[in-house]
Every structure is written in C-alpha cells, then in structure tokens.
C-alpha cells in the first residue's frame, strides 16, 4: 500500500471537511471549527417568532407571598388564553418556588400547552441550582419539552417526584406516589395509607365530577383535569401531598349540593347575606362532617381530614378561589378570604413522616 505524502493527506482532509460542511449546510446546520461544534441554524419560523416575556418573581409561595404568587399565575392564565404569541417565562432571577406554588405553576403551564400546543409557553432555566434541581425532579422542564439539565438525587425519601395528571380517575395513583416518594424500605402504616388514599380519592372525585362545568371546557383534554405531586420537606421532616384542579372552586360548587339557607345556617349568618369564599370553604367542611345533615351527598369532604386525624399531627390546607381553610392535627381550624383567587382548588396535606411510617422504617430515613 502506497503511503500518502503529507500534502496529499492535508488535501484529502480538506476535501473531506468541505464535503462534511456542505452536507451539514444542506440540512440547515453549520460547523464551527473553532469550537468544533455543530450548531443548529434556526429555521425562519423560529427566527421570526415573537415572545411575550414574563419575569417569574423571586419568590413563589402561597404562605409568605400569596398575593404576588396568585397574581403571577393569573398573569400566565390571562396571557396564554388571550394571545397566540408564545409566552416565555424567565426564571433566571427566581430563587425559590415552594412546592404548592410549583404544582400550580406546573398545572398552569400544562393547561396552556394542552390548550394551544407546544409553542404556547416556554421558559429559561433558573440560575439557582437548588431550584433547578427541584424543577427537574418534578418533571417541569420535561413538560415544557426542554431537556432537564440535572439529575435529581436518589436518596429516599425523595425531595420531589414527577407530578401526575389526568382528566379521569387514575387507579393506583396514590400508591405510586407514596412508593415513588418513600422508596421500598420506608413503609407507610396501613391506617395512614388508607386515610391518605381516602383523601386523595375524594379530591380526585371532586375534580372529575364537580370542579369543571360539564362538557364546556375546551379542549377536551382539560375537562376534569387534576394534578398531583409529593414532596418530602427535609427541614421539618414532613411529607407533603398536594392535589389541585383548575376548576370553578368549592365556593361555586357548594350551592349545587346544599341550599344557600343551609349554608347560611351552618355559618350562623343572616338571610340575604352572601357568604364570602373563605366562609364557603369552611361551610363545605362543616356540612361534610355533619351527621345530622339530611343530604346523602357532600359527605366526601370529610375524607380530606382523616389523614391528618389519623396522624394526630400536621395540617390540611385548602385554597379554593379566594377561600382558604386550614385544619390542624389538634382539631383547630382557620378560615380566611384572600385578596386574589387561586384559579381553582389546591389541597395540601402535610404530616410528620415519623407519624405515618412503620416504626422500623424510621431507621432508613436518611438526612439528605
């Protein structure tokens, strides 16, 4: 075999590169020899695409920054439903998104994409690495069709697990979430498991039967849709289970089950006075628990409390439209009407992990 001269070798390499670059250009790509990278040349439709830019607040939290958080979600909702331009969420300066706010963000983003397709909404990565890791773990970037840049650690209990969503009853959802969050070694007590299942099933049933106007939501994929996520809050060693729908809210659905006079009765308010959202959510919880209530419907809301009662600790929070209700493990209740509607119903159970797992399992709970 004849050896090639150095000049000829260089000539052949150059020809080969020319052919390579020509082939790339034909496919709309180009080669950067300085960085030795192949860049995607944006298509004309992408180059000309307009965006509505929305800055994500530094903190999204329903407890410490409710109004700012709720207004942000309202902005996403209003923008994505009134324009065909792609909305771009800028997370660069966002430092903290609490789990409940993250679930609502997921649901609003998902709704936008289901309504208007993949170009409805996009986003940028946050600079805060811990926040980035959490968002990846919940499946947020996967939902946006963006590659998750980091992998979440696999130490159980997991801090976050991918969210779940459907617009019908999904069997074994609670079991999968529980096992996904806690792993194989950390087992939940049978009684806790059953009460959690009960609460989630009631929330799911409410979403698919009451929360949305029947047959009027478009597209069909959004009708009766719910979202759910789990979180292990390491500082307090509590398990958070969160469930939400983007329906009309308990304050609007309650009068379908109970006459207004009955609602006023349980609130001890005078005829002619319309209860506000906070009072409506509170009334719903009282009527659901009442053993003297004649109606056979509406009993399911008490199911939401059993997981907390069984643990004897922790709390249940319900945000529904502008109504807020909180139930503590010691039986005390809080109700409030908030300044801005949440745009649906969000339920959060928060229970100390050591109150719901089998005693031996506590040895397997590692501090991350």
């Amino acid at each position: 075999m004849k050896r090639l001269s150095p000049d000829k070798k260089i000539r052949l390499i150059s020809l080969s590169r020319e052919r390579f670059e020509h082939d790339l250009a034909r496919r709309g790509r180009h080669y950067d020899p300085a960085r030795r990278l192949i860049d995607v040349r944006p298509s004309s439709s992408q180059k000309n695409r307009q965006y509505i830019e929305i800055e994500v607040p530094e903190i999204l939290c329903l407890d410490s920054a409710y109004e700012q958080t709720a207004l942000f979600f309202k902005k996403i909702r209003d923008t994505t439903t009134t324009t065909t331009v792609t909305v771009r969420l800028h997370f660069e300066d966002c430092k903290s998104i609490k789990p409940t706010a993250l679930l609502l963000l997921l649901s609003e983003v998902h709704r936008a994409r289901l309504s208007r397709g993949q170009y409805a909404l996009t986003g940028t990565y946050p600079k805060d690495h811990a926040l980035l890791r959490r968002m990846c773990a919940t499946g947020f970037f996967k939902l946006l069709g963006i590659k998750s840049p980091v992998e979440a650690p696999k130490t159980f209990p997991l801090e976050y697990i991918p969210f779940q969503s459907s617009n019908r009853r999904a069997k074994h959802t609670t079991k999968e979430m529980r096992e996904g969050l806690l792993g194989e070694k950390i087992q939940m007590q049978t009684s806790a498991r059953k009460q959690l299942q009960r609460g989630v099933a009631e929330a799911m049933l409410n979403a698919i039967t009451h929360a949305y106007p029947s047959g009027k939501v478009r597209p069909q994929a959004l009708q009766n849709r719910w979202w759910m996520c789990g979180h292990y809050h390491l500082p307090s060693k509590k398990v958070w289970i969160m469930f939400c729908d983007l329906g009309v809210g308990i304050p609007r659905t309650l009068p379908r089950t109970y006459p207004i006079e009955r609602i006023r009765g349980v609130l001890n308010i005078l005829p002619g006075i319309t209860p506000d959202d906070g009072e409506m959510v509170y009334a719903a919880m009282q009527l659901g628990r009442s053993r003297t209530e004649q109606s056979h419907r509406g009993k399911g809301l008490k199911d939401l409390l059993f997981f907390i009662d069984q643990a004897g600790a922790g709390d249940l929070q319900i945000f529904s439209n502008r109504g807020y209700y909180q139930y503590h493990g010691d039986g005390t209740e809080v109700r409030e009407t908030l300044p801005v509607p949440i745009g649906g119903t969000l339920i959060k159970w928060s229970v100390p992990l050591n109150k719901i797992v089998i005693p031996d399992a506590e040895n397997d709970i590692k501090d991350n």
């Binding site: 074994h172 099933a201 049933l205 199911d303």
Partner: protein, 111 residues
Amino acid sequence: MQKMTSKTIRIALEFSDEPFGRYPEDSDDNGQRFREEYLIPALDKYDNVVIEFDGAEGYGSSFLEESFGGLVRKHGYKPADLLRRLELKSEEDESLISEIIGYINSATPEK
C-alpha cells in the same frame, strides 16, 4: 329448624382493590355497581351476607354511602333488616363499620 345461609364478599379480591366513586361515570369500581352486582344478589339469595373490607387501598365516603346507603335509598331495604343481615368485617380500619352503619341508618327511601 331451617339452616341460615351465608355468603362472604371479599371486596378487594372479588370486586376491586381500589373502589372509587358512586356511579359508572366515576369509575368502573363504583358503589352503584358493587351494590347492584354484588350486594343485591347476595341479599336476595342468602340470609346473611358477610362483607370483608381488608386488603383494599381504602374506601371513600362516596363509595360507601352509595353502596350501603343506596340499599335503603334506591332499593327500599329497611335499615334494621340490613343491620341484622349484614356482617361487616374490617380489621385494618374498624371505623368503617360505624361509618357504614351511620349511612344505612340515615338513608331515606327515594320516592
């Protein structure tokens, strides 16, 4: 003396390990179906019916009320008769028994 006949229904094994909702539009594992396809035939054929609740993921109020309260509301069974003939067993969650008794006692037949 005629021997009393008895039938045992193990919900988790025979019906569903995750009962859900009241009606067919809620899910396939709904209270109406359990009542019509399992409870009613058993009550028609046997003197006593034993219901075992263990093994399922959990039972929501909607399912329980539709299954058992529905016997009174939809089919006109008398609560006292049902409570005499139904034996409810639940070792995993004993509170279910009193809850179901409450639904049976508070149900009123629909006109």
